[in-house]
Amino acid sequence: MNEPQVFVSNEQYLSGLLTTLLQALRPRKLLLILLPITATLLAYGVSRLLPPVFEAQASIRIGRIDGAEQISLQTASVRVNTVSFKQRVLRAMEMPNYEENRQAQLIFWTLSARPETSDTIAVSVQASSVEQVRQVFDTIVQLLNADQKWVTEPLIADINEQIVGLDTTIAELTRARDSLTALGKSMAEVQSHDAASAAFRSVWLFDLLARNEQRLDAAKNQRHDLATRLGSWRTYQTATVDAAFILPKQIAPRPFRTAILIGGLTFLACVLFAVWRSPTRRIRQVPV
């Protein structure tokens, strides 16, 4: 018995699939047009009503005392990422009940830090307003500085105390030098009968002056060293880099993008529904 021969060319195969698809879509033209358009418009409208979300990333330079990091970058990043630190940030921003406050939740869930360069960490956060974003960065800086106060303040106070002590010493030594210089001058003016004792006194006076000068130089050097330790290039607080130039960007709502996405997905869902519900057309053997 001869089997019926049906050949399907490539064109027929692909065009057949396309035809099948179009046949499935044709009866549901209205659905395919109206529903995605409605969904698009609805998504556009709803997303415009959603509260705005701003995002920014800041580089925070970790403070140093006498050239040494107050805390390592890794520790600072980990600390900022901890739940307790985030809660402290929110409390400092007067949003203590973060579980009931959506704005606070947004900050809580999006605040994250990671090491960035050899002396900065990158902190990123999302918040409901530009001011809030800036406030978060300021608060983080304040808290990181506050956390290090117990180390930095005593150390700085101790160094300052040493500087004051040295200042006193320097003042005393300067006064002593002046007195010795004055004494030397007066001795030179007075004619002595005993040349040997006069020479001896002069030697003694020069020796005193030299030793005084040595101590004065040593004290000045020591003061300079201490002042250097507190110099702005070796000791500084944690601060945001270029804080004035951080511009939080609005990342949501993006009504146009959301509308296109929702519209596209709705269209795909409608096509899926149309193909699923379309009847199967069969080839029939018909009598001649």
Binding site: V8, N10, G16, L21, S112, L272, V275, S278, R281
Partner: protein, 475 residues
Amino acid sequence: MSIEAFIVAILETIAAAAVFAAMGFIVVRRPVIAIMFVFVFFAFSWRLGSMLYIDLSAPVFSEQLERNIGSAMGVIPLAVSQGMVLAAVLLAFRPQRVRALYAIPNEPPAEVLREASRQIAELAFWAVLLFVIGLFIELLIQGPIPLFVGMERFDYAVQYAGPLHRRLIEWGAMLTFQLGVFFVVPTLHDHPVDRRFAVLFALLMIYLFLVGHRFSSFYAYSSFFLIGVGGGLLGLRASGRRLRDLFNARTLRTIAIAATALVLLVIVALVYSYTVVRGFEGAQLAEKLKQRMLIQQGEMWWATYHNVFRLGDWDFEQAFHKLFIDPFDPTRNSTMQFLMERALPEERAHFILAQGSSYTGGWPEVCFELGGPLGGFLLVAISAIIFAEFMFLLARCVIQERLATCFFLSPILYALSINIVSGMANSFIQTTFVVKLAVALIVYMTEDKWRSSRVLVPSSGLSETLLLHEKKAEA
């Protein structure tokens, strides 16, 4: 060795041996399924073997984790997880279910499918040939050839690679899957395999060799080629034909030669990479190879086992957040990024990730990081069932020559395969993945409708004249 350690070692060896035996069973008794699952089975075997080595030789130093690892019962949960996948595969591909695939009622006549397949294969061959020619031309005009100048493939990709190279790296595995399908589909109509597609595949392998790729690319591309081939061969088995009928001595010889050439290519590429490109030699080379082959495959699982099972240190919220909401680099596999952050000092993990590198593993680690020691097994079971059922669907599409659907299912195949080997989960929440899934479903249903429309429905009259429904409507 203490008695306790000895008992643990015995238990671990038994668990690993059970998984290897199950794989051996599949290779011997269901070789076609083994061909389809080469990608997964190979990764599983290597990881399990590596983990067994780490635990039995503990403590061993891990270069990447920078610490001593091992000495625990990490092999057992890994073996159980892999065993679940094997069980899901055997269940999905049980013989009666596979046979039922072939004996489908309401299928269009073989001539319809044969001609459609032939014509589509022609189109595919010329399209891929043009692409491959374009790749080689691009390689010649773009800059140095990495193999000849000792350049790393990453450097070539960043500094010199053209658009075609990037497309290949992005879609290559899916392309080779299609080549495998077209290679084997003629056999469903008692024709010999279409060798033109094997040649295209070989050309792609040579290209990868030239641009400095080593083992992983050859492994992935070959495995995806075999998934397509396995799907077709499953159809042959289901129809009651023997593979021996298809593969005569000459064909088998050709395949053996090709496989040997591929293995040699991989060995040469590996040796060249380690000794020439990276300049390792002597004891350093031996240590590097030991780290690569015996330790790196299992170390991330050891880290997860150590954290989750021994320390009870896991947190669903943190894992979910780092996997899906705020990964280090959302454009890449977030699972390994998260695992590296857990296993290494965060700064070091980020440094390595920023270089574009990452470590090996990810599944079943991701399941246990999300679900903990018990919930993890549930997630493993769910991912195993989804993967096995999807592979069955894919095999069904190859056997039934639903070529359009096969084409649109390949990105989903890639995502699921990468998930079961590397644990990548963030691809599933991308909008593009949802779109790919919806399009694949639409194409599947459309092709189904079209195929049904090609089925002959007997009417009251007895005639051999065919009239299309559409033609009738036109008349």
